[in-house]
Amino acid sequence: MTTHPAGLPRELIALRVSHELRRGMVVNLGIGVPTLVPSHLPADHGVLFQSENGILGLAGLDYSGAFDPEHINAGGQAITLVSGASFFDSATSFAMIRGGHVDVSVLGGLQVASNGDLANWMVPERGGGSMGGAMDLASGAKRLIVAMDHVTREGTSRLLARCTYPLTAQACTDLVVTNLAVIEITPDGFLLREVAPGVTVEQVIAATDAPLLVAPDVREMTL
């Protein structure tokens, strides 16, 4: 078993992802690391968060304890709304997602291939798993960012020449943000753009089980 550097904790992966979001964008966040993203944005961020259960304009989690069963996010958690929010049914919600009206989708991942294939809904050896809206988000959003650990607990790479797990969608990923690196999917495969503080390019190459192009201006992440 190869040892790889620890790199960023989950909170800092979310912080790095937050730098990809701009005022006025419509953004859907998946379950897991992606849900940590909003807390890293400035108060007046102007990003409109979409939730596939039929809400545009989520503010954040509702910690008041007054649970309203019809104010929840896609993970079933109580949420608050921004001014200017709206509600709609699931057909409209997925027309928004699948018709390319969501600017950025941020999903967790199990494996990403160098052609952009994503696998994130089923671990064959565990059995089971459910895709919920992940296949629609992966194939429909204008830009897909995958946020995940670079390697499994066993130390094998989650960035591969070809996914071995069942796919979520083909050639859908645009950017991967891991605990070790920021990697863009290009027509030529993985392109290393940034490394986590304290992580070397060589360590990222060692942790990636596919050819890795290195950007001429590769640099350390700004966090």
């Binding site: 596939e52 309203d68 069963p69 104010h71 049914d89 699931s90 057909a91 809904w121 565990r126």
Partner: protein
């Protein structure tokens, strides 16, 4: 036809027999017809093929597994990737006692909409190159390949909303919409539990989420307190 008002959720299920195909509205706790699900549990109807976004995830549907009433499910979220907490449905699925057809959520709602709108299916990119596409046809349109997903209909839809008038015009609240207005189009018998039934004219025509033409039976019930797991 416009709707009929029933006094109890049990009465509203009048005529539903074994082997029925049932759509359940709701997304986790939102817009979930918990009173109607409990009435179906009490009724003892067996061999149910259920269609719902989720089972065992804040929805009470798992209670239908207590005594083996479900024959199977078509759903988008039914088995967790992690094995931390298993539902009865998952246990029965792993023992081969119930069937499960997983459908991506956007495909699931479009299939129901197609069933309700008289359309022959859905042409979508979602699921191509994944296990979802196995055994299904593809159709090429304008140079792009799409998966052909077949429409879904049910014998009965059990739905939940905020209010109804006595004609059956339905008003939803917040994210309680989700699958409810779509399933209201796709079943032969549409039964809606609401927190309040009001007189005709009390719901603003601009706020009707499901027009009375789609609704067969309505029943007023206090909402069941359900929490997210």
């Amino acid at each position: 036809m416009v709707a009929t008002v029933y006094d109890t959720p049990d009465a509203a299920l009048e005529g539903i027999g074994d082997g029925v195909r049932v759509m359940f509205g709701g997304f986790v706790t939102a817009g979930t017809p918990s009173n109607l699900i409990r009435a179906l549990r009490r009724r003892g109807t067996r061999g149910i093929l259920g269609m719902a976004n989720n089972i065992g995830f804040g929805d009470l549907l798992d209670e239908l597994c207590e005594d083996g009433q479900l024959a199977g499910m078509i759903a988008t979220f039914a088995i967790r990737a992690s094995s931390a907490k298993k539902s009865r449905f998952e246990d029965q699925y792993r023992r081969g006692e119930v069937t499960l057809e997983l459908s991506p959520q956007g495909t699931f709602v479009e299939r129901i909409r197609a069933g309700g709108a008289g359309l022959g299916g859905v042409l979508t990119r979602t699921g191509l190159g994944t296990p979802v596409a196995e055994g299904k046809r593809t159709v090429e349109v304008q140079g792009v390949t799409y998966l052909l997903e077949e429409p879904l209909r049910a014998d009965v839809a059990l739905l939940k909303a905020q209010r109804a008038d006595r004609l059956g015009n339905i008003e939803y609240r917040a994210s309680g919409r989700n699958f409810n207005p779509i399933m209201a189009m796709a079943a032969d018998l549409v039964i809606v539990e609401v927190e309040e039934i009001v007189e005709v004219g009390e719901i603003d025509p601009e706020r009707v989420g499901t027009p009375a033409a789609f609704v067969d039976r309505i029943v007023q019930c206090a909402p069941v307190q359900v929490f997210t797991p």
